[in-house]
């Protein structure tokens, strides 16, 4: 479904990811893990079109998307939830959600993903009229994911959804990710909390200083002795 080949991205001449190749098949949950500064976020930004790759190609459902404008990539079915969420803070929860379905004209198309959103995060339905900035960190993350779901994506990309959130809500969010996959979407997730992430993922990539260090099924990665020592602290 999504395939990146030899993707290299640089900021101001500093290479953030270098010749990274990855594949995501339909219906998978793929986890990208690695230490701070390993290039995980850059990888997602590049796929989403927020950064342009210096070289390499990215294809989505067979069509090249590298170099395409970011809003066009969203329109093609890739929803991206950035690390800092980028909600519209002074707009209401309802308006944030409605903006998610901006691309659709008919009310039916707009309401359809709403049912899923309220099933995943019932507490959002109680806060529809509140401004987004008044939500707690965890609720904001839920809203950011929900807004992304409103674009009815085929691929959902999450950057560090657990960051700055109470542990209890983290579990809730990971559970939601699984249910999102069960609803027919594909998920690419970047996480520092590798252990939890590997629990729900099918496959995983480990990045180190901008390169792919290791890849494989989640169970392979989980049982790899080097990973256990270096990343899982076991």
């Amino acid at each position: 479904m999504l395939s990146g080949r030899e993707v290299t991205t640089a900021y101001h001449g500093l290479v953030a990811i270098s010749a990274v190749s990855l594949e995501v098949a339909k219906g998978e949950i793929v986890c990208v893990a690695g230490a701070n500064g390993a290039g995980k976020s850059t990888l997602l930004k590049t796929i989403a079109g927020a950064e342009r790759p210096r070289s390499g190609t990215i294809t989505f459902d067979g069509a090249r998307i590298d170099g395409m404008a970011q809003h066009m990539i969203t329109a093609r079915g890739i929803a991206y939830v950035p690390e800092n969420r980028r909600l519209f803070p002074r707009l209401s929860v309802r308006d944030n959600l409605r903006l998610g379905s901006y691309l659709y004209r008919s009310e039916a198309d707009r309401d359809e993903p709403l049912a899923l959103v309220f099933k995943l995060f019932p507490r959002l339905s109680e806060r529809l009229e509140q401004r987004a900035e008044t939500l707690s960190g965890g609720e904001q993350q839920m809203l950011a994911i929900s807004r992304a779901l409103m674009t009815r994506p085929r691929l959902l990309m999450l950057d560090e959804p657990s960051q700055g959130i109470m542990p209890k809500l983290v579990d809730e969010i990971f559970a939601a990710v699984k249910r999102i996959r069960d609803a027919g979407m594909t998920v690419l997730i970047v996480e520092q909390r590798m252990a939890e992430c590997l629990e729900i993922a099918d496959r995983a990539y480990i990045l180190q200083t901008g390169r792919v260090l290791m890849q494989g099924s989640a169970s392979e990665i989980k049982t790899n002795p080097d990973v256990r020592k270096a990343y899982l602290g076991l």
Binding site: R86, F88, D95, R98, L99, Y102
Partner: protein, 252 residues
């Protein structure tokens, strides 16, 4: 000064204030949306007034009828200005603040120059129109009809704008872009399109004001500079600017 004259000048000041408010709303819309002051806003007004004048001179079209046409033309003009000039100005890496100011300011100077070149510095006026010169007396206070209609049009435009921004998808997109222009791509909105439409809308509002002001103000290449200053004063939230300092262009 009797109480009557005070009320009289208050009333006409209020009417003019509403028209200036229409210009200022256009300016504020653009400023709020992308933090750029349109220093050519007065020149937008100037070409709107000239457009009204020429529609009158060549097609005998009354300013009231040409107002929607002028507003539509200004809409296009504003969007084009964004796409050709401002879009590049906001990308500047060096001297960003100065570039933002001088790009639209330079445009203002060019427009004034073209107006002098093609239209000559002569004062023009719409010599006769349905409303021009008419007054109406309400409870002993005489109000000029063009200004009164201008005020009503302004109020209608404010209400329409309010509903447009609060009740439509595009209005919501406008608000979102104003909140975080970098984030709208996440929901598939092209921020350049929103900006272009925002500029178009701001220009259309000033076009509407210009068409009506053409009924009772002289039209000349520098006319925008004056009204611009007045409306800018409004948008710095001074009370409705209609003191004598601002009213240099004499009504006729």
């Amino acid at each position: 000064m009797t109480a009557e004259t005070i009320i009289q000048s208050l009333a006409s000041g209020l009417l003019m204030g509403l028209l200036y408010g229409l210009i200022a709303v256009g300016l504020a819309l653009i400023f709020g949306l992308m933090d750029v002051v349109n220093f050519a806003h007065g020149e937008f007004l100037m070409i709107a007034m000239y457009a009204t004048f020429f529609l009158f001179a060549f097609f005998a079209l009354d300013p009231l009828l040409s107002a929607p046409l002028v507003a539509a033309a200004l809409f296009l003009f504003g969007a084009v200005v964004y796409l050709l000039v401002v879009r590049f100005a906001v990308r500047a890496k060096a001297n960003a603040g100065m570039v933002q100011i001088f790009s639209t300011f330079g445009l203002a100077i060019v427009m004034r120059g073209f107006a002098q070149f093609f239209f000559t510095p002569d004062y023009r006026s719409v010599t006769h129109s349905w409303l021009g010169g008419k007054t109406v007396s309400i409870a002993g206070i005489f109000l000029p009809v063009p200004q009164l209609v201008g005020a009503l049009v302004s109020i209608a435009a404010f209400v329409a704008l309010y509903f447009f921004i609060n009740r439509t998808d595009f209005g919501r997109a406008l608000e979102a872009t104003r909140e975080d222009a970098g984030a709208v791509a996440l929901v598939g909105i092209d921020k350049n399109r929103v900006f272009a439409l925002g500029w178009g809308l701001g220009a259309a509002l000033v076009g509407l004001a210009g068409a009506i002001m053409a009924i009772f103000f002289y039209i000349y290449p520098d006319v925008g500079a004056w009204h611009w200053a007045a409306s800018a004063a409004c948008s710095v939230r001074l009370p409705a600017a209609s003191s004598s300092v601002w009213s240099k262009p004499p009504p006729h």
